[in-house]
């Protein structure tokens, strides 16, 4: 990333970097660019936090009140 790009990171790009960081460490210029952007942009700071909340929700997903007895019986027949 060129220095000028680092200095004028858009919110679109910043949110993309926040997402990518979940999978792979950013390069030094990207890290610096994002850090600078987040210092001045309240909205992307809020996005970063909200993105983390969504990640937590995604991890702990489950559903309640499921009757699995019919499925159990089917599986037991299958392997019986």
């Amino acid at each position: 990333m060129a220095l000028t790009d680092t200095l004028k990171l858009s919110c679109h790009k910043a949110t993309a970097l926040i997402e990518r960081r979940e999978l792979r460490p950013l390069g030094p210029a990207e890290r610096l660019g994002l850090w600078m952007h987040l210092r001045i942009c309240d909205h992307c700071r809020a996005f970063e936090k909200q993105s983390r909340v969504i990640e937590t929700l995604l991890l702990r997903r489950s559903v309640v009140n499921v009757d699995s007895s019919a499925l159990e019986a089917r599986i037991l027949t299958r392997i019986g």
Binding site: H12, A46, K49, I54, L58, V66, L71, E72, I75
Partner: protein, 203 residues
């Protein structure tokens, strides 16, 4: 002093006798986990059944160094990843590569790539509360995942099923890293926007 009987690991035969207990003990949890991650009860039940059948057939390979539950969940995650890989490739074959352009992104960001008024996250802090569990958020997330285009849903699910292993995910889906990151980015922007609207509607 008499020798204590040597403690031997349970044989595969013992495990076959125990297996029905595993089915009774874990089907519910496996099904709840799966229902939260795929569309449709029938699809979810099939995946859980395939998981147990596969476990039964490979029981000889279960080393016993993890609990049956952990082992069953590992197989389940493989089966879920298979499910998403298959549906992703089928969808791609039908629609060509229809991943380009996203009308939503145009609405979220202006020409300079900055947040448009009305979509900026700064005003939604009260929706995404970290401190307390919020059932509305869970419900909104579920509805919003189901509303995602199939390829974006797959992108999100694969991240968790393949433990954030970018290379493995790209290989499974047959796409480039850039393409995959783009899909995750789009999915997250859509999810945030959708959850915010859903939660507002629940008040």
């Amino acid at each position: 002093m008499p020798n204590a009987p040597a403690r031997t690991a349970p044989s595969a035969t013992d495990r076959r006798k125990e297996f029905p207990d595993w089915v009774r003990a874990h089907t519910g949890d496996l099904l709840r986990y799966t229902l939260a991650r795929v569309k449709g009860t029938e699809v979810a039940e099939d995946i859980v059944q395939v998981t147990f059948v596969s476990a039964w057939e490979t029981l000889d390979r279960f080393a016993g160094d993890s609990s049956p539950r952990t082992w069953l969940f590992a197989i389940l995650k493989h089966k879920l990843a298979d499910h998403y890989r298959k549906s992703y490739r089928e969808a791609k074959a039908v629609s060509g590569n229809a991943l380009e352009n996203d009308a939503l992104e145009g609405g979220l960001f202006g020409v300079e790539g900055h947040w448009n008024a009305g979509h900026s996250p700064g005003q939604d802090a009260n929706v995404f509360r970290e401190d307390e569990p919020d059932e509305r958020l869970d419900k909104a997330l579920r509805l919003c995942l189901e509303a995602l285009p199939g390829n974006l849903r797959t992108a999100v699910e694969m991240k968790y099923l393949l433990d954030h292993d970018s290379d493995a995910i790209q290989e499974a889906l047959g796409i480039t890293a850039t393409n995959y990151w783009q899909q995750l980015h789009r999915a997250k922007l859509r999810l945030r926007e959708c959850i915010k609207e859903r939660v507002a509607g629940m008040r």
